[in-house]
Symmetry: C2
Subunit: 344 residues, 2 copies
């Protein structure tokens, strides 16, 4: 077996139509690049924004059929580099593959002792920074105000809710299952949850009788419309994700601008890459909250490179619970399968 | 003839369907109220937001069939009051009628010597404040950035453009006629104008090759969509008017939220009543600019109460040019029919 055969990568076999299926992906022999720092991959980050890349609709660019899937990774270097001595754990964007070579400057060492290291892909990584930046720079929660967050059990949504709760807000999550709602209420301190399959307007009216002061939108579509119809005066809306439309062929319209005018609302687009300047304070605050037990999180862990397409398809179908990652074969399996606080 | 017969008011005869027609209104005998300060009406303000009130879709409330039309007025008191001695010129909301009685606290004296006094309904009134607040609090123009403003020859649009131009921005107007575009370029210093009947995307691409940093929206609909597709990074969008949909029965959808995310744009709803705290600085700055000849404006003046329905219908059909007012019979006709700087 050649190196290329023994170190395959996941490629996009065809552009998904609607919800992706595992057959949209394939394993293809592919040697690691000859240049860059050699590293073994410990974790793949599985994220909704990748669906947008497959449709060519994401700010970070398209991934076309035939090209390798790529996302953020946690790697362990196997040679010395500017990132540190052999064995340094780092995050970097790279292909879905067991062994890689990555440009030295692309490797960012993660905090020592992070257990599991995959937290640097979740609550202490890009999703955590997304939540932190959205709360700090767009939502600006005030005590007594009402927040609604969609995809609330995901790593972004759950963190947004808990940060706003810590600032004194009432926090209502929109979720895809009763199990997720239970966890948000019991472990993450949410004041209420609405099942997205139930009549949304009724749920919002019941939970937000004085209107919605803050909305963190991970989904767009009908949920965004229903929330916009119920904004309180001077509401803030962070537009972050488009889960409802990632699987659609046509770009649907959005809410009428009159809803923004009526509420004198401020809507702002949130792309995490613009907020790297907040990463250090995010890591400090969120890791402190995790240590003191005031920030709950969950991971949905899949095992081995071959599970990556399934992990992604389940995520996009709303069938994962918590930050979705793939743990590669090189990670000892003594780690807990799912981190975070559990409901008491 | 009774007082009620000699002092009729304009009422809404029926809810307009689509573009309003004069037959949607009627003159009805109506005495002035018995309470409040007696005043004669000099000018009626004719504004697009009134169409929203006729459909029950405006923040200031509905005007139903059978009820008097009302808007901001310029009046001259005919008795002493807290607003000043007999003969004081003041602005106030009130019915479309020649002689009125208005609550004392509703009368706000206008600056002395304002010539014509109708400027307090236009560039130095609510439209001026709308423009000033939008520029100061939402657009925040930076030198070298590109502004697009729709309904650009109206009193809000033309003022927005000139304030942004003074701040060093490139200013592109969207207008309904070549005549309006000529005036904006020659008298108001706009860098370019696009006819809203021409292919809008092409016009925007030609005039804004680096994207649109600021958009002041008076219209919504297809114009808003075309602009949103061309926003530059970190764009600011002031949502103020909905001219394109005021005449529609159904509320149409708006742009997809992905356009906001892609541009990391900030959209904010602008309702002038929230920004009264800026009125004094607006009056100071804009009247200074008018005195020094650096702020052009226009008025479209109709004559007599009976012309008010026609004035409103022409405004809503895009057939007026400048701030639309009705000059009542009690105003001596020696005033110029249209104020403002003229093209050289």
């Amino acid at each position: 077996m050649t190196e290329a055969q023994s170190n395959p990568c996941v490629i996009v076999a065809r552009c998904p139509e609607g919800n992706p299926v595992p057959e949209d992906f394939a394993l293809r022999p592919a040697p690691a690049s000859e240049f860059g720092v050699a590293a073994e991959v410990l974790y793949l980050s599985i994220d909704p924004y990748l669906r947008g890349r497959l449709s060519g609709r994401h700010v970070t660019g398209a991934i076309a059929p035939g090209e390798p899937m790529e996302s953020e990774l946690i790697v362990r270097t196997v040679e010395n580099s500017a990132a540190g001595p052999t064995g340094t754990l780092a995050r970097a964007f790279g292909p879905w593959q067991a062994r890689v070579r990555l440009p030295e400057q692309a490797l960012v060492p993660i905090a020592e002792g992070l257990d599991p290291p995959s937290l640097a892909l979740g609550v202490l990584g890009m999703p955590g920074l997304t939540a932190y930046a959205g709360v700090q720079r767009i939502l600006k929660p005030a005590s007594g105000q009402t927040l609604v967050v969609s995809a609330a059990a995901g790593p972004v949504g759950a963190t947004v809710g808990q940060l706003c709760k810590a600032a004194g807000a009432r926090v209502i999550g929109i979720v895809g299952s009763a199990e997720k709602g239970d966890w948000l209420r019991k472990a993450a301190g949410f004041d209420g949850c609405i099942d997205r399959h139930a009549p949304l307007g009724e749920g919002l009216d019941a939970h937000c009788p004085d209107g919605i002061d803050m909305y963190f939108d991970n989904v767009g579509g009908a949920v965004l419309q229903a929330v916009m119809e119920r904004l309180a005066l001077n509401a803030r809306v962070a537009l972050c994700g488009l889960m409802e439309q990632y699987n659609q062929t046509e770009v649907p319209p959005g809410p009428n601008p009159g809803l923004v005018i009526r509420a004198r609302a401020t809507m702002r687009g949130l792309v995490v890459y613009d907020h790297e300047d907040l990463r250090e304070s995010m890591e400090e605050e969120l890791s402190g909250r995790i240590r003191e037990g005031s920030l709950a999180y969950r991971e949905a862990v899949f095992h081995g490179l071959q599970s990556a397409p399934t992990a992604f398809c389940r995520l996009m179908a709303g069938q994962t619970f918590g930050k979705t990652v793939v743990r590669m074969g090189s990670v000892p399996s003594c780690e807990a399968p799912s981190g975070g606080l559990q409901a008491s």
